[in-house]
Symmetry: C2
C-alpha cells in the first residue's frame, strides 16, 4: 500500500514550489511554464547530503514515481483533449494542405540533417538512423499551452500547428518503424511496416470521418426527437467526455501513435456534441491541477551530470542546435505562403520534441542500438527544444504584433489553401 | 517507467463501468455509489481463467495499484475539502455540544460492546482490544457524499455528523494509542500517549482558532486596503486551495489523524477567504473525476473468498451487526434531544467505518496481534458498514420527509445547544 502521507507531502511541496515559480515568472514576464520546468530541474539536480531533493522527497520510489508520471501524462492528455474541444474540424481542414507541407518538411529536413551530422561524427549507420528518427517527432503540448496562454488558439497559425502535429505523428511512426526494421536486421519487412502505418493512418482518418459525419447524422435524426432526447440522456458531460478521451487515447497508444494525438482527436469528436454535453468548463480546473505536473516532469528528466563529459556535451549541443534550426526551417518553408511572420510562428511552434523524442531514444536504448551517452544526448535535445520553445513562441508572436489579430476576422484569406 | 497505455485502458474500463452502473442505479433509484462499489467488488472477485478481472487489468501491479489508490484518496480528500468550504465554522460550533455527545457515545458503546463480544467468543485480550478499537472509528466520506447528493448539507444533522466526525477522529486516535500501547507490552507509556493525543487535539483546535480569527483579522486590516489587495494577489484560487488542502491533510496524517479530517479543516479555513479566492466551483469537476475511484477502491478491497470459512463468516456477520447497532445507538442517544427523526439520521450517518477501520486492522496485523482471519473480519465489518450506510441514510432522510426542510429555515431552534 502506498504511503498517503508521503504523497501528500510531495503534492504540497510540488504545488507550492510550482506556484512560487509562477509568481516570480509573472513578475518578470517570463513564460510561467519555464519557471515550473526549472523547479523540476532544480529538484532533480540539487544534491543535499549525497541525495537529490528528488530522492529525498521519495519521488524516486517506484510507486510515487508512477503516480506523478500518470499525473503528468494525464495533464497533457486532458490539455490536448481541451484543445480538440476548441478546434472545429472544418477549420483544421482548411489548414490541411499547409499543415501537410509543414509536417513533411519538418520530417524530411531534420531527418536528413540529423543523419548527415551523426555520420559525419563517425557514428555507425544504425545509431545515426535512430538519432535522425528522434529529430523528426514533434510534441505539441508545450506549444499549444503557450499559444493558449497568449489567446492565440483561434488563429490559423495554431490550426496549422495542430494539423501538422497530427500528420507529423503519423509520419514519425512510419520513420520509426522503418528505422527499427532496418536496425533489427537487414530483412526489412515492408509489409509489416505498411500494416503498422496503415492502421495508424486508418485510425486518424476514421476519427476525422466520424467527426465530420456527426453534424449530418444529427440533423437527419431531426431536431424534434433531439430535443426530446436532450432531457433523457442519462450520462453527464464529464464522465462521457472522459470515456471518449481515455478510449481514443488508449487506442492511439495501442496503434503506437502518441496518446495525446488520440486525446486531441477525441476532443474534436466530442466537440460535435457541445450542445448536449458541454464539457469544456469542466476540464479547465482539472487541467489547472494536473498540467503543472507535466512541466515538473520535464524538469525531473533533466540530468545535468550526464553532460559532464565534454565530447558528449559538444555533440548534444550541436544536435540540439541542428534540431532547432531544421524544424524551424521545415515549418517555415511549409508555411511560407502564409507570410513571413506566420511562417515564423509555425516554425518555432514545431520545435519541441518533448516526451516523444525521449520515447524514441528509449526504444533505441532498449533495442541495444543506443548507448547511455547517445541516450543522454537525445534526452538533452528533446528537453532543450521543449524548454526553449515557449520563449521563442512568445517572441515570435510579439514580433507578429497586431497583424495576427487582423487575420482572425478575415478567415476568407485562408480559403486559398 | 509506468506503461501509460495500460493506465489509459484501466481508466477507460473503470470510468465506463462506473457510469454504466450509475445509469442503472439512477433508473432503479438506488444510491449511485452502491452501484460503483459493486462494480469494484465484481472486478476484484470475478475470476476468469484463474485470474480476477482486477489482475487481468493489471490493477494488481504495484505501480498501477499505487496510482489508483492515490486517485481514490485524493477523491475523498478533495470531497471533504469541498464540504469544509461549504461549512461555516459558527454553524459547526453551534452543533458542538451535540456533536461531542454523539462522538463520545459513538466511541464508548461500540468499544465496550466489541470488547465484550470478542472476549465472549474466547479471543484473547489484546486481539479483543484491537477489534474493539476498529469498531470505534467513523469514516464520514460516504455519509457526506450521500447527504450532499440529497441536498442535505445545510441541515443541522449534517453539521452534527461533521462535528462528531472531527471529535471522533481525535477520540479514535487516543483509543488506538492506548490499545497499541497495551498490546506492545505491559509498560503503558501514558506520557507518550498523552503527547500523541495532545498534539492531535492541539492541531484541530489551532486550525479552528485560526479559522475563527480570520474574519476579525481581515476586518481590522480594513476594507479599503483589502480592495486594493484584491487586484494584486498574485496566486489564483485553485493552486492556493490545493496548497492549503495538501498541507493540512499531510500535517493531520503526520499527527496520525485521518488525512480527510485535515482536508475538512483546511476547507473550513479556506472558506473564510471565499471573496478573494473563490475555489468551490473549481473542485466540483475534479471531484466528479476522482471520487468514483474512491468507491471503486472500497469494492476492490472486498475479498469474498476470505469469508469462505463458516466460523469466520459468522464472527464477521455478528461483529458487523454489532458495529451497526452500537454506532447507531451512540449517535441516536447523543442526538436524542434533536428529536427522533434527526437522531435517526445522525445515528445511521455515523455507521461507516470505511478505510479507517481497515487502517486500524492493518496496524494490528503488522503488530502481529491480529491474524489473517481477524484482519479479514475487520475489513468485512469496515466495508459492510460503509456499503450499507447509503441506503440507510436515504431511507432515514425520506422517513424524515419535509420535516427537515422546515428546520432549515428555523436555525434559532438550534441555539439551545
Amino acid at each position: 500500500m502506498i504511503d498517503l502521507e508521503i504523497v501528500l507531502i510531495e503534492l504540497f511541496v510540488l504545488v507550492l514550489l510550482a506556484n512560487v515559480a509562477s509568481i516570480i515568472c509573472k513578475r518578470f514576464q517570463i513564460p510561467v511554464l519555464v519557471g515550473v520546468v526549472l523547479v523540476g530541474v532544480l529538484i532533480s539536480n540539487i544534491i543535499i547530503d549525497g541525495q537529490s531533493i528528488y530522492s529525498l522527497l521519495k519521488l524516486s520510489d517506484e510507486e510515487n514515481k508512477a503516480v506523478f508520471e500518470v499525473f503528468a501524462q494525464l495533464g497533457v492528455i486532458f490539455l490536448l483533449f481541451t484543445i480538440g474541444l476548441e478546434t472545429p474540424l472544418h477549420e483544421l481542414r482548411r489548414a490541411g494542405k499547409t499543415a501537410a507541407l509543414v509536417a513533411v518538411m519538418g520530417v524530411v529536413i531534420p531527418f536528413v540533417a540529423g543523419l548527415s551530422l551523426m555520420l559525419l561524427f563517425n557514428y555507425d549507420m544504425y545509431q545515426s538512423l535512430f538519432i535522425a528518427a528522434a529529430m523528426v517527432v514533434t510534441s505539441v503540448g508545450i506549444t499549444v499551452f503557450v499559444l493558449r496562454d497568449l489567446g492565440m488558439m483561434e488563429t490559423r497559425e495554431a490550426k496549422v500547428i495542430l494539423g501538422a502535429a497530427v500528420i507529423d505523428d503519423m509520419l514519425g511512426l512510419i520513420v520509426l518503424s522503418l528505422v527499427s526494421g532496418i536496425a533489427e536486421g537487414g530483412s526489412l519487412n515492408l509489409i509489416d511496416i505498411a500494416a503498422v502505418a496503415g492502421l495508424a493512418v486508418a485510425f486518424v482518418l476514421m476519427v476525422i470521418f466520424l467527426t465530420s459525419t456527426v453534424p449530418k447524422a444529427r440533423s437527419s435524426i431531426g431536431s424534434k426527437s433531439e430535443k426530446k432526447r436532450r432531457f433523457h440522456h442519462p450520462i453527464s458531460p464529464l464522465p462521457f467526455a472522459l470515456i471518449i478521451c481515455f478510449g481514443l487515447s488508449a487506442l492511439a497508444s495501442y496503434l503506437e501513435l502518441a496518446a495525446i494525438i488520440g486525446a486531441f482527436l477525441a476532443g474534436m469528436l466530442f466537440a460535435e456534441f457541445k450542445d448536449i454535453w458541454p464539457a469544456e468548463d469542466k476540464f479547465n480546473p482539472i487541467n489547472e491541477f494536473l498540467v503543472p505536473f507535466f512541466f515538473l516532469q520535464i524538469g525531473f528528466l533533466v540530468n545535468l551530470s550526464s553532460l559532464a563529459d565534454g565530447w558528449v556535451l559538444f555533440i548534444a549541443a550541436a544536435l540540439t542546435l541542428l534540431a532547432i534550426v531544421t524544424k524551424y526551417a521545415g515549418g517555415w518553408i511549409g508555411a511560407a505562403k502564409l507570410g513571413k511572420r506566420s511562417a515564423n510562428i509555425i516554425g518555432v511552434g514545431m520545435i519541441p520534441r518533448g516526451e516523444l523524442g525521449i520515447i524514441v531514444a528509449a526504444i533505441g536504448l532498449m533495442a541495444g542500438i543506443l548507448d547511455e551517452s547517445l541516450f543522454a544526448i537525445i534526452v538533452f535535445m528533446s528537453l532543450l527544444t521543449t524548454i526553449i520553445a515557449p520563449s521563442l513562441i512568445s517572441w515570435s508572436v510579439k514580433r507578429k504584433g497586431k497583424w495576427g489579430e487582423s487575420f482572425k476576422s478575415k478567415p476568407e484569406k485562408f480559403q486559398g489553401d
